[in-house]
Amino acid sequence: MAEWFQDNGLLLGLALLDGLSSAGLIFLVAVGLNLVFGVLRIINVAHGSLYAIGAYTAASIGLFLSTRGLPQWAALPVLLLSAALVGAVLGPLIERFILRRIYAGEEVVQLLVTFALFMILEDVQKLLWGVQPIHHDAALKLLGTIDVPFGSDFIPFTNYQLFVLPGFAIVTLIGLAWFLRRTLTGRVIVAVTTDREAATAMGIDAAKVFLLTFTFGAMLAALGGALSSPTAALVPGIGAQTIVLSFAVVATAGLGQIEGAALTSLMMGLGRSIAVYFEPELEVVVPYIIMVLVLLVRPQGLFGVIETRRV
């Protein structure tokens, strides 16, 4: 064991750095899904589409502005604004005109509505942006790289992936925690998450909370997409890939639990990067293994609360 560490300790260190940045991205997407699920009790399959649209929008706005000679430093703010724009437009549209009609329906119907939305948005996205990979990495280039020492060698990492992605995840986590615990709106959201009936009985305007939460969730999805856009080429199908991982995070984390989502994302991000170093063939199934193991020990999810049944 000690010998193994001597041989592989440095690699493990690299895996840690890689894992952090991928965990950051996983978290940003999954936390929005989890928040929406906590409040609306809907697993939003279209969350993945919002991620994709956020990414595409950020890349196209970025590309458009860069041809207009926008200063370099603006690349990062553009990402954030694009995400906000996508969330603020699509979120309310979807919530008001579609989801609102099915809150009373069965769980499966709600799930399916978002599945239908997902199918529609996949094609919309293809019609709008075509199928050729789109790539805009001004933000990545802007921040450059940093050389991390590795024995007698060094490994260049991009600052964007090493600092910006995990940084945003941490800021989002802290900001969300503060928002949910310290602001009135946040507490109302938490109240609806923990006990919807009691909260509405107390006169909380559920419709407003739903709208707000969904819009917020949509923004987080779009933010995840926008932040991923400098590092990845955008192609049809990225939404489907992203959402299925987020599902696993939500179930593992526990309903509506943001700290749970953070810890789960970290576990999955690290698990996957360690797998790439030592057993690459396992990388794809690592998230599911983590999920099954966690649920075996804690059936309600990592941070989930057992829902008491009234008798």
Binding site: L10, K126, V131, I155, P156, A232
Partner: protein, 434 residues
């Protein structure tokens, strides 16, 4: 697997012989009002980066052919079908194309999985099928088809040519890593490479074998590992968005300074990569149709195809467009040949199929011969990436052409068996500089 397949194959062939005489021979063929082609290609999902441009090329060429009087005087119409929804859907669609739409020929498909599933239908439906883009060597090495032909090269030459080029240009490589997409093409192309490399240059050490999930958007971890390992060569047959992502993420972190990339399928991504493609890495095009081909056989035709496509879609055609064009040209040549054989009469399906066997048809860059087993012989050109200001993206230089016959497994031999028989001497013998 060989044993079972041959047995199943024999069984299937048995059925075939029972069926064939009854259904195909005696049909008097009438000159149709239009010649319909069913085309399967990816219109959704990640591979639509190939599918949509190829569809455009197909539509453009058909317009041109119709404007020039059609196929032996018959106007052509294409009916497109999406490969995206999966094989069970596609198999049904092929039947619909043949039985409901009454197509006269089927062009299929991009995915090797689609080809493997659908090509046997050519036997059941007695309809000409042109495999216009898929690369799997299994099609004609494990089966015999009377109605199916591949109008371009396939995996073995497409992998072997870049390997020969690498060994010619960098004879003393010692270590290599592979990063391929985790699906059949990624695995097959690695098996071909590894087998050939062990025969041509024994002793090269494989330091990492990585097959990230198909459709991955983040290769940071793989790249970190490669940076730490410093292999002499990184081999990848990835394509589409994944190749673009991989190259951009890798160059951002200067992996290209530590290693040489060998990218046999790079051509389709170079335009999108633009100036982000590093220079001096080995790139392939699954054929010889580079946009900067120095000496195309028919410069006039080559220029007109490329410029018509550019004019219309505001981008250069990529290899799937050329492959689609090859299928169209092959069809044109075969129909004309069959009509000529019947001295003006219209050929039946069987007669049309017969016209394809052994057919040599011209392409703008060269000629392609459909050999006896149905496999097309297409030359391969490989080169070093170099940003050409005329194009604004990377094109190859120091190009070498490998003639198809040199780098394809002979008829009746399995690629992997044949590759094992290669010797290091081949490196210096094969290929001619352009």
């Amino acid at each position: 697997m060989t044993a079972t397949l041959t047995r199943r194959e024999a069984l299937a062939a048995g059925f075939g012989t029972v069926l064939l005489p009854a259904t195909l021979s005696a049909q008097p063929a009438q000159r149709p009002a239009e010649f319909r082609i069913g085309v399967t290609t990816f219109l959704s999902g990640p591979a639509s980066v190939f599918g949509v441009p190829s569809r455009r090329a197909c539509e453009m060429l058909i317009e041109q052919i119709n404007a020039a009087g059609g196929l032996a005087g018959v106007p052509v119409r294409a009916i497109f079908v999406d490969e995206g929804p999966g094989t069970d859907h596609l198999v049904g669609e092929i039947r619909r194309l043949v039985q409901a739409e009454g197509v006269h020929a089927v062009f299929q498909s991009i995915s090797s999985g689609s080809c493997l599933a659908c090509t046997p239908l050519s036997r059941e439906l007695n309809k000409v099928m042109l495999l216009w883009d898929c690369g799997t060597q299994r099609i004609f090495e494990e089966n015999r088809y009377d109605y199916a032909f591949r109008t371009q090269g396939y995996a073995t030459p497409e992998v072997l040519a870049p390997l020969l080029y690498l060994l010619r240009k960098k004879p003393d490589i010692r270590t290599l890593a592979v990063v391929n997409q985790d699906y059949a093409w990624g695995r097959d192309s690695w098996e071909i490479w590894k087998t050939a490399m062990d025969a041509l240059k024994p002793g090269v050490r494989v330091v990492a074998e990585m097959f990230p999930r198909f459709g991955s958007t983040d290769f940071s971890t793989e790249i970190t590992r490669l940076l730490a390992l410093r292999p002499d060569v990184v081999y990848s047959t990835s394509w589409g968005g994944e190749l673009v992502t991989f190259i951009r993420q890798a160059t951002e972190r200067r992996l290209h300074e530590r290693t040489t990339f060998v990218l046999p399928v790079a051509e389709a991504s170079l335009q999108i990569l633009g100036r982000n493609m590093p220079e001096g890495h080995i790139i392939g095009a699954r054929g010889d149709h580079w946009n900067n081909h120095p000496a195309p056989a028919n410069p006039e035709l080559f220029r007109s195809f490329v410029s018509a496509y550019r004019q219309r879609f505001n981008e250069y055609p990529i290899y799937p467009c050329h492959h689609m064009a090859q299928a169209v040209w092959a069809l044109k040549a075969a129909v004309e040949k069959a009509v000529a054989t019947k001295s003006g009469g219209w050929p039946s399906d069987a007669e049309l199929a017969a016209a394809f066997r052994g057919l040599t048809f011209p392409t703008p860059t060269s000629t392609i011969t459909l050999r006896e087993d149905g496999q097309g012989l297409e030359d391969q050109i490989v080169g070093m990436s170099h940003i050409d200001p005329n194009f604004g993206f990377a094109v190859p230089r120091e190009m070498m052409r490998y003639s198809a016959a040199q780098v394809s497994a002979p008829v009746g031999q399995k690629s992997v068996d044949w590759l094992k028989t290669l010797t290091p001497a081949m490196v210096q013998q094969a290929g001619t500089a352009l």
